[in-house]
Amino acid sequence: MTRALVNVPKTAKRGEIIEIRAMIQHVMETGYREGPNGVTLPRNIIKRFVCKYGAQEIFSAELFPAIAANPYMAFSTVATETGTLTFEWTDDKGETQSASAEITVT
C-alpha cells in the first residue's frame, strides 16, 4: 500500500481561507522509459485526484506522465462547516487510495 499524506488545519473560523496539502508516494512511471533489460516500463501513473469537503467536491485534478514522482498538491478553500475532508487518488489500473481529515469550524 502506498502512503498518502494530507494536511488540513484542525480548526478554522467560518469564512476563513485555509490551505490544504496532499501528497501520495507514487512512482509516476511515464511509460516512455526503458528498464535495465531494455524493455519499456509500462506506464503507471496517478490519473486523477479528488478532494471533497463533506459531500461537495472542492478540488480535482487530472495528472499526466510529465508529473514527477510523489505528486504533491497544495490548494486552498473556504472553511464553511465542521466536517470531514476526503482525498482520493486513482491510478492507471483504476485502483483508488484514500485519506481523510477532520476540521472543526467555529
Binding site: R3, L5, M23, Q25, N70
Partner: protein, 414 residues
C-alpha cells in the same frame, strides 16, 4: 615606472613582467582545500610567493566531529594550527577578506592591507543559510544547534544530549542536495543513537529529510536495523520529511504534513558557498561556484581558482577528501599556468568514511575526471563497502577512518 612604461609600449602588461620576476599566489581559506593548496604550490615551486589568508588562527576540523557530539572524542583532537604551514615558507595572515578586485588582481583585508596576486585560489567552504528555513536563524542555532561547522556548536549539541533525560526525543533535519558532507547527517544520527543506546536507551531519534535517498543508504539502514533497532526513524521527503518552519520556543520542527517536538533538536540547514565567494564574484545564482574541472579556474573570473565544498563539482561530493584532491590538481594547474604550461586533464579521488558505531565503519569511494565541463564519475571505479561484510571488516574500516584523518590532517597542518 620607466621600465613599466617601456614594457607597456611593447604591449606586455606590467603584471606579466611581475609574474616573471616572482609569481604571487594568494589563497583565501585555510581548510583542507586552501591550506593544502598553498603548501602544494610552494612545494612544487619555491620561487612562487604564497600567501594564505584565513580568519581563524585555529582550524577546527569537521570530519570526526560527529564523534565529539557522541562523546567519543574530545574537540581538542579536531584542532589544528598553522605553524607548519608557515614553516613551509608560506605567509599566513589571520584576517578577514573585505574585497577582491579581480581586474586589479588584489585582495583587501579588514586591516586595510592589500595583497596583489597573479593567481588567486579561493577555498571558502560553506556558510549555513539562515534565510532558508523560516524560524531558523543564527539566534535559533543557539537553541537548536546546527553543529555543521565544528567548534562551539559541536559542544552545544553535545551538552544538550548529555542533559537530555532518558526517554527523550532527538529530532534532526537534513537538507536537500547539495550540501557539505553528504553522509554526515546519517553518521551523526548513528553516533547519537550509539550514545542513546549506551546511556539513555529509552530515547529515540527522528531524522527529517528533504530527500528520498542518501549516501550509503543501504549500509546505514542495515546497520541501524542491526545496531539500533527501533531507535532511528528516518522520515524521507515523500513521507513528509521536508521541514518548512522551526519554532524555537517549543523546539518544534514543522513539516509540510505535521510537526515534531524535540527534547534535543539539530537543524542542518541548506548551505551555499561562503560569503567570500560572492565577494570574489565566483559564485553564481545557485550560491555555488562553477569551475573548469581541469584547472579549477572559475568560469566567471579568470585568474581565480576555486576548490573545496564551495564548487559545483558534478559527481564529486563536498568532503575534506575531495577538497584535498582538488587542492592537488589546482596547485599543479596554478603552477603550470604561471609558468605558461597547459594543465593536464586530471583524475581525482574521493573516499568518505562514516562511523555507524565506534568500531563499525563504512565507506564510499569514487574516481572522477572532467567530462562535459564537470567532474564526472569514472564508470566501474570506486564503490561502497559490501552490504554483507563481516564485523571484522567493519571494525577494520573504523580504523581506516581514523588513519585517514591522521594522514590528511598531518599532510595539511603537520
Amino acid at each position: 615606472m620607466a621600465a613599466g612604461g617601456v614594457l607597456a609600449a611593447f604591449g606586455i602588461p606590467a603584471a606579466r613582467a611581475a609574474t616573471k620576476a616572482a609569481p604571487r599566489v594568494v589563497v583565501i581559506g585555510g581548510g583542507f582545500g586552501g591550506a593544502s593548496c598553498a603548501r602544494l604550490i610552494k612545494g612544487e615551486d619555491r620561487d612562487i610567493t604564497v600567501t594564505l589568508v584565513e580568519a581563524n588562527s585555529t582550524y577546527i576540523a569537521c570530519p570526526f566531529s560527529n564523534a565529539v557530539i557522541a562523546g567519543l572524542r574530545p574537540l581538542e583532537q579536531q584542532k589544528f594550527g598553522y605553524d607548519r604551514v608557515r614553516a613551509a615558507g608560506i605567509e599566513v595572515i589571520h584576517r578577514k577578506v573585505t574585497a577582491v578586485d579581480t581586474k586589479q588582481r588584489t585582495v583587501r583585508l579588514d586591516d586595510g592591507k592589500q595583497l596583489a596576486y597573479d593567481r588567486l585560489v579561493v577555498a571558502p567552504g560553506v556558510e549555513l543559510r539562515f534565510d532558508a528555513i523560516p524560524g531558523y536563524n543564527e539566534a535559533a542555532a543557539e537553541v537548536l544547534p546546527h553543529a555543521w561547522k565544528a567548534g562551539e556548536q559541536t559542544l552545544l549539541l553535545r551538552r544538550q544530549l548529555e542533559a537530555m533525560k532518558d526517554g527523550g526525543v532527538v529530532v534532526m533535519s537534513a537538507p536537500a542536495n547539495p550540501f557539505r558532507c553528504p553522509p554526515g547527517p546519517y553518521e551523526r544520527a548513528s553516533l547519537i543513537a550509539h550514545y542513546l543506546k549506551t546511556h539513555k536507551p529509552r530515547s529515540k531519534l527522528i531524522l527529517l529529510d528533504a530527500k528520498d535517498a542518501f549516501s550509503k543508504q543501504k549500509l546505514f539502514e542495515a546497520a541501524w536495523r542491526e545496531l539500533y533497532p527501533g531507535m532511528i526513524e528516518w522520515v524521507s521527503l515523500s513521507s513528509g520529511g521536508n521541514v518548512t518552519r522551526i519554532e524555537t520556543d517549543t523546539r518544534t520542527f514543522v513539516t509540510e504534513f505535521g510537526s515534531h517536538v524535540a527534547d534535543v533538536g539539530n537543524v542542518i540547514p541548506p548551505q551555499r558557498a561562503a560569503a567570500v565567494a560572492a565577494l570574489a564574484g565566483v559564485a553564481d545564482q545557485t550560491g555555488w561556484c562553477p569551475v573548469d574541472p581541469v584547472s579549477f579556474e572559475s568560469t566567471l573570473q579568470p585568474g581565480v581558482h576555486v576548490i573545496g565544498d564551495a564548487i559545483i563539482a558534478g559527481g564529486m561530493p563536498k568532503s575534506a577528501f575531495s577538497a584535498n584532491s582538488q587542492a592537488r590538481v589546482c596547485a599543479t594547474a596554478v603552477v603550470d599556468l604561471l609558468r605558461e604550461r597547459k594543465p593536464a586533464s586530471p583524475k581525482l579521488i574521493n573516499t568518505c568514511y562514516s562511523l555507524v558505531a565506534p568500531d563499525y565503519g563504512i565507506s564510499v569511494a569514487g574516481v572522477y575526471q572532467p567530462a562535459n565541463g564537470l567532474l564526472t564519475d569514472v564508470p566501474g571505479a570506486g564503490g561502497v563497502s559490501a552490504l554483507d561484510a563481516p564485523k571484522s571488516m567493519r571494525a577494520q574500516e573504523a580504523t581506516y577512518a581514523e588513519a585517514w584523518f591522521k594522514t590528511i590532517t598531518h599532510g595539511v597542518f603537520g
